[in-house]
């Protein structure tokens, strides 16, 4: 019915604009909070959540108490909810949306051919929409006089399939347990988890860190039993009012030591600062290992092993505080283009390889080929300069860079470095990256320059004068500086 009609019937009706995105976000955050009961949680848009509590119910005192706890908490958030527990997704969905019962008894589960009598009895009086069928199929069935699930339970299967397709009977079979319906959890299940409930919610940072250390001690025994160490950890803090704060931390090498894990989270909390707002407190803290790797037990002793471990710990601390991408090491690439010859990779990810990062090969190449010396510092984007040269394609006589004029005393060059002619198209799509599209495949002539004061530069001319279009002479750029 139209809003005007509804308002005519009830003048005091409140109308709120629909906000689908906001509703989806709210549903997602409720599903996030439901992770406190079980790791297998799926969102059932637009207004449902599916939880697989097989194996978790006993932690909360049974299925009935879990359901009561869930409903009580959602009520305290200001939401009205209906919950049903059954042995299949289809039955639970049907009963939660359309039925009255709370828990469909799973104790009298039969085998596949004879589904539980409890499920059949519950489903029979429900309308056909409870089977999650398309509306036009429900309308078609209604025209035939089939309005409740009980009507189609005992009908012969072949004519139904012929008339309505396989979907109808598949949904029925899934509801009755004759066919399996898996639940795809919204978050992957971590291999190791330790959690702790608080009767009195905690809010102080020292308490959170002390909890982290205790949970890490519990994880240490399970990790040690398998010989694993944690590479990536996540601390999930569940607030009393339903919000969930997740803090992740990574390491360069697999660790197990509770003090080291605590030190990592000290840095993370320091970096996040006010974003972790405890509100009225956290009543559940869960430490999970998202990525675990085999950890070789190392001997404690003097020498390079101990040094390396200490450097890794420093890298972990710096990465936790400043961000993984800001701490990097250089690796050599097999590229003749100068800005691609060396790249900076996050230092935490490089631990596993621990080779020379390609620099041995570079040193061999350098010794064989006799490469012209490279600058000590390379600008990320070569800066355009104004150059005066005697001969158009020749070395520069003087140039102006950042508003200062430099007189050239000695020049070495040109060293011709051709662009990556095969990837001109790819570079053109890069957008704001260097080099800009028209110069992507251009050949560069590099010159090593020393000026009157003694400053040494590496600059290049992009393109040739004779090949350039009339209005666009080749540009000169400064790429790097020598010591």
């Amino acid at each position: 019915m139209a809003l005007a009609q509804a308002r005519a019937m009830h003048p005091a009706l409140a109308a709120v604009t629909e906000d689908q995105a906001g509703d989806a976000n709210l549903l997602d955050s409720i599903a996030d909070w439901c992770q406190r009961y079980t790791p297998l949680v799926a969102v059932d848009p637009p207004d449902g959540i599916l939880l697989d509590i097989g194996g978790c119910a006993h932690l909360f005192g049974g299925e009935a108490r879990l359901r009561d706890d869930l409903l009580a908490r959602t009520k305290s958030f200001g939401l009205s909810a209906r919950a049903a527990i059954a042995s299949t997704i289809g039955t639970a969905w049907a009963v939660a949306h359309f039925g009255e019962a709370a828990i469909i008894d799973a104790k009298s589960t039969g085998n596949r051919e004879h589904p539980t009598s409890g499920a059949r009895d519950c489903l029979a009086p429900l309308p056909l929409a409870a089977l999650r069928l398309a509306p036009d199929m429900v309308a078609a069935l209604a025209r035939l006089g089939l309005k409740h699930i009980g009507d189609i339970l005992d009908l012969p299967r072949a004519p139904l399939t012929a008339r309505f397709g396989a979907a109808l009977l598949r949904q029925l079979d899934r509801a009755l347990g004759r066919e399996d319906e898996p639940l795809t959890p919204r978050l992957p299940i971590p291999p190791y988890v330790a959690e702790r409930n608080f009767h009195e919610p905690i809010a102080r940072e020292e308490d959170v860190l002390a909890t982290v250390e205790r949970l890490a001690a519990r994880l240490q025994t399970t990790l040690a039993a398998r010989g694993d160490g944690a590479r990536r950890l996540e601390l999930a803090l569940f607030r009393t009012d339903g919000a969930v704060k997740r803090i992740a931390a990574g390491t360069s090498r697999p660790i197990r030591d509770p003090q080291a894990i605590r030190a990592l989270f000290v840095e993370r909390l320091a970096a996040l600062g006010d974003e972790i707002d405890p509100g009225f407190g956290f009543d559940l803290a869960r430490l999970s290992v998202l990525v675990a790797e085999l950890r070789m037990d190392e001997q404690i002793g003097l020498g390079t092993q101990e040094n390396r471990a200490e450097v890794d710990r420093l890298v972990d601390r710096l990465s936790a505080r400043l961000g993984r991408r800001r701490i990097s090491r250089l690796i050599a690439n097999d590229s003749h283009i100068p800005e691609l010859a060396a790249t900076a990779m996050p230092a935490q990810t490089l631990h596993a390889e621990r080779g020379s990062g390609g620099w041995d090969a570079f040193r061999r190449f350098h010794a064989e080929v006799g490469l012209s010396p490279r600058p000590l510092r390379l600008l990320t984007r070569p800066e355009p300069i104004e150059v005066m040269a005697l001969v158009p394609d020749g070395p520069p006589l003087r140039f102006r860079w950042r508003r200062a004029l430099h007189e050239v005393v000695t020049v070495e060059g040109p060293e011709r470095i051709a662009g990556a002619w095969w990837s001109e198209q790819a570079d053109a799509d890069e957008g704001a990256r260097w080099p800009p599209a028209p110069l992507a495949g251009a050949t560069r002539d590099y010159f090593r320059i020393e000026d009157k004061i003694g400053l040494r530069f590496w600059l290049f001319r992009s393109g040739f004068y004779q090949d350039a279009p009339p209005g666009l002479p080749p540009r000169w750029y400064l790429h790097g500086m020598y010591a």
Binding site: P373, L378, V409, A483
Partner: protein
């Protein structure tokens, strides 16, 4: 700081012995304040003249300040510091760490792998930290200085946010971790600082002789720096023109040119200190 009063001895003690005694007093005072690393090996430059002026070399567990003459000279100052890093960390197989603000790296460029190889520093031994703010640079420097496994910490700082409190913290961290720390500045400053030595580094033109011989070959591969030592706790100040020999990993005095400022020879007690 503990109050140490040097007792004035009788006049029979020669000037050399007196200076030696004062040096020892200074060392004790420094250790008491925590500004001297325990048994940190000094960083020598390879030039006996400069190393003697430094009292054996740059102090291994202390903070040193290297300023470029002006901003375009930063690559020269970087070269000086990275050459020292190569000399000091390669024999010990330790890593060096370079900490800079994003703005510094954008203005003056990132350390370039093949260029580091030219200096003689293995690029896989350098850890680079890019910080968003100057405060983060100071924090990262302190953390890295405390770590004993790091060979050298180089922090590129711009602006004048580095007051004496900050340098003192860094000096204490360097002493605690027995790691040499270098602050690389874009311009010299007069602010008081707790650094053990202060340098001003600029680029020097290659020698005219070399230029005449190899003008067609361009700038020589060895690079030349003008180094002014403007503050030195353990000796006198001076200015030299040095060249870095990356093959032998040592500095050399430029042979064909004189230093910009002569070390003072005409003071009477100067001759005793050698």
């Amino acid at each position: 700081m503990a109050a140490v009063r040097p007792a004035f001895s009788s006049s029979t003690e020669g000037p050399a012995a007196r200076i030696e005694r004062l040096r020892r007093t200074l060392c004790t005072a420094e250790t008491a304040t925590g500004l001297a690393g325990e048994d940190a090996a000094p960083l020598t430059l390879g030039i006996p003249l400069i190393d003697d002026a430094l009292g054996g070399g740059l102090a291994g567990g202390a903070l040193h300040e290297v300023a470029a003459t002006c901003e375009p000279q930063i690559p020269a100052a970087s070269g000086f510091v990275l050459a020292l890093a190569a000399r000091h960390t390669i024999p010990r197989q330790q890593d060096a760490i370079w900490i800079a603000e994003d703005l510094s790296l954008a203005e003056n460029g990132l350390p370039y792998g093949p260029g580091l190889h030219e200096v003689g520093l293995a690029p896989e031994k350098l850890i680079m930290v890019a910080a968003a703010r100057g405060r983060d640079v100071l924090w990262a420097m302190e953390e890295a200085l405390r770590c004993r496994a790091i060979g050298m910490v180089i922090g590129e700082l711009r602006g004048c946010g580095i007051d004496q409190v900050a340098t003192r913290r860094l000096a204490l961290a360097a002493a605690a971790g027995n790691t040499p720390g270098f602050i690389l500045r874009t311009a010299p400053s007069d602010e008081p600082s707790a650094a053990a030595t202060r340098w001003i580094i600029g680029a020097a033109p290659s020698s005219s002789a070399l230029r005449d011989e190899r003008s067609s070959a361009g700038p020589p591969h060895v690079y030349r720096l003008a180094a002014h030592l403007i503050r030195n706790r353990r000796g006198h100040r001076g200015a030299w023109i040095v060249e870095w020999n990356s093959v032998e990993q040592r500095f050399e005095l430029a042979t064909d040119s004189v230093s910009v400022a002569q070390p003072v020879f005409d003071r009477p007690h100067r001759a005793a200190v050698a």
